[in-house]
C-alpha cells in the first residue's frame, strides 16, 4: 500500500503503521481513512496529501 506525504508539514502516512493515536489501525490504506481524518502533526486535511 502506498505511503502519502502531507504537503504542509512533511508527515508521511504509512498504511503499515496507521495512526493508532487517532483510532486508525495498522493496515488501513490512505483511501480508507475517514474523510474527516487530519494530519496528526499539523491538522491538514486529506486533500493536502500526495502519494510519496
Amino acid at each position: 500500500m502506498e505511503k502519502y506525504v502531507c504537503q504542509v508539514c512533511g508527515y508521511v502516512y504509512d498504511p503499515a503503521v496507521g495512526d493508532p493515536d487517532n483510532g486508525v489501525n495498522p493496515g488501513t490504506s490512505f483511501a480508507d481513512l475517514p474523510a474527516d481524518w487530519v494530519c496528526p502533526v499539523c491538522g491538514a486535511d486529506k486533500d493536502s496529501f500526495s502519494p510519496e
Binding site: 504542509v8 508539514c9 502533526v41 499539523c42 491538522g43 491538514a44
Partner: protein
C-alpha cells in the same frame, strides 16, 4: 533593555531585547531581535508568551516593575519554540500560574521540550473564549504558522491581536511601535522574516487571512512576538502578508552565483546585460558576499531565478549546495529558472543546478550554459542571449 511599555491601558510589554544575536538557525539577523511578552492586568492577571532562556532575568525584572510575579494567574503559550519558551520553566517557577493555556499541539510540544507533566495545562481550541475579568481572550489556532502548536490570542475589548511569530520582524530597537521607526526599514525586516520563516506556508497564510476577514473582528493593534508592535495602520502588515503569500512577481530576475576564478561571474554579468537591456530589473548575488537569507528575501518578488556555479570536484561549489538546500525547504513557486557555469574538464555543476530547479518546479530555459574555462566573446554572447530570452518570457507573463 529593561523598560516596561504600557502598550494599551493595563497591557504591558515585558519582553527582552537581544541586541547581539546575529544568527537565527541559519537566518542572518543583522540587527538583532526582540522576544516580546505581554502582561495584561485584570481580575486574572495574564502573561502572554515568554523569552529566550538567557533573557529570563530581563523579563522577570520587567514583570516586577508592574506586579509581583507570584500574583500572575494565567500564562498563555502561543508558540513553544525556545526563543519564546526557553525561560518558561523558570517563569512558571516564579509565577506559579493557576493555568497554562495552550493548543493541544502546544501541550505536546511543551511536554516534549520540558518534560513537565505537573504543569497546570489547559488546552484551548480555535474559537474558544475565556474571560479574565473585564477582558475576554479568544484563541485562534494557526497550525503550521509556523509550527503545529502556533496560535493567536485576541482580546476583543482592546481590539488587540497578539499574533505570536506572525507579523514579526527581527530588529532590536529601543522603540516598541511601528510609528516610532523608519517604515521602509521596518518593512524590509518584515519581508525578510516572511521570506525566511513563513514562505513555505503561504497557502495557509492565504486561508488564515480569509478566516480572519470572515470573523469580522476589529483590530487596532497587532502585537507580534518579535520586533515592533503595529499600532499605526496595523492592517498594513496583513495586507503585505496577503501580497507576499500570493507570491506574485515583478519584472525582476535574480542571478545567484558563486565563482572560482571569475569565469562564472563573467557569465553572470553577461546574462544580466541581456536582461537589463530588455528592461528587466536585475539583482546579482554572489554567495561569497550575500547571505542565503538575504537571497531568499530578494527571491520573493523575482520572476526568474538564474543559478550559476563552476564545477569543482565533479559537483557544484559548496555555497551553492547550501543555497539550494535552503531554497528547496522554503518552496518558492511561480518562477522561471536557468543554470550556467564555467568548468575545467568535466562540467557536472550546470546539470545539477538545472535538475534542482526542475525539482522546485521552475520553468527551465534550456539545459543551461556550460562554458569551458574562461569564456570567450562567443560564449558570452550565448549568455546575453539567454538573458534576452528570459526577459521576453518575463514580459509575457508579468504585467507592467
Amino acid at each position: 533593555m529593561r523598560t516596561v511599555v504600557e502598550i494599551k491601558k493595563g497591557v504591558h510589554w515585558v519582553g527582552a531585547v537581544d541586541w547581539h544575536v546575529r544568527d537565527f538557525h541559519g537566518y542572518s539577523v543583522d540587527k538583532g531581535s526582540t522576544y516580546n511578552s505581554y502582561l495584561v492586568m485584570d481580575d486574572k492577571v495574564t502573561l502572554f508568551d515568554a523569552v529566550k532562556k538567557p533573557f529570563k532575568s530581563d523579563m522577570l525584572h520587567n514583570i516586577y516593575k508592574v506586579i509581583d510575579p507570584g500574583k500572575i494567574d494565567y500564562l498563555v503559550v502561543n508558540h513553544v519554540e525556545p526563543d519564546h519558551s526557553g525561560s518558561i520553566p523558570e517563569i512558571i517557577e516564579a509565577i506559579k500560574p493557576e493555568k497554562v493555556f495552550c493548543s493541544s499541539r502546544g501541550k505536546k510540544a511543551l511536554l516534549d521540550h520540558y518534560h513537565r507533566d505537573d504543569w497546570p495545562y489547559e488546552i484551548v481550541e480555535s474559537g474558544q473564549e475565556i474571560s479574565i475579568g473585564k477582558r475576554t481572550i479568544t484563541f485562534l489556532e494557526t497550525r503550521m504558522l509556523h509550527w503545529p502548536d502556533s496560535m493567536f490570542s485576541y482580546i476583543k475589548e482592546e481590539s488587540l491581536l497578539i499574533s505570536s511569530d506572525a507579523f514579526g520582524q527581527h530588529w532590536a530597537t529601543s522603540e516598541r511601535f511601528n510609528d516610532q521607526v523608519d517604515s521602509s526599514e521596518l518593512m524590509a525586516h518584515a519581508v525578510k522574516y516572511y521570506a525566511n520563516i513563513l514562505l513555505p506556508y503561504s497557502g495557509l497564510v492565504q486561508k488564515l487571512i480569509a478566516e480572519v476577514k470572515k470573523m469580522n473582528i476589529k483590530i487596532d493593534m497587532i502585537a507580534p512576538d518579535h520586533g515592533l508592535i503595529w499600532r499605526e495602520d496595523p492592517l498594513q502588515i496583513v495586507e503585505a502578508y496577503d501580497k507576499w503569500s500570493k507570491q506574485g512577481c515583478k519584472r525582476k530576475a535574480l542571478i545567484i552565483y558563486d565563482t572560482m576564478w571569475h569565469s562564472t561571474e563573467m557569465m553572470a554579468k553577461a546574462i544580466a546585460d541581456g536582461l537589463i537591456e530588455s528592461g528587466i530589473s536585475v539583482k546579482l548575488m554572489n554567495l561569497a558576499c550575500d547571505h542565503r537569507s538575504d537571497v531568499i528575501t530578494e527571491m520573493i518578488d523575482s520572476k526568474a531565478v538564474i543559478l550559476g556555479s563552476p564545477t569543482l570536484n565533479n559537483g557544484m561549489l559548496p555555497r551553492m549546495a547550501d543555497m539550494l538546500c535552503y531554497m528547496k525547504g522554503l518552496r518558492p513557486i511561480n518562477k522561471f529558472g536557468a543554470a550556467f557555469g564555467s568548468y575545467g574538464w568535466s562540467g557536472e555543476a550546470v546539470k545539477q543546478l538545472a535538475k534542482s530547479l526542475e525539482e522546485m518546479k521552475m520553468k527551465l530555459f534550456g539545459a543551461g550554459i556550460n562554458l569551458q574555462f574562461v569564456p570567450n566573446h562567443e560564449g558570452l554572447k550565448k549568455c546575453v542571449d539567454l538573458g534576452r530570452e528570459i526577459a521576453a518570457a518575463i514580459k509575457d507573463s508579468v504585467p507592467v
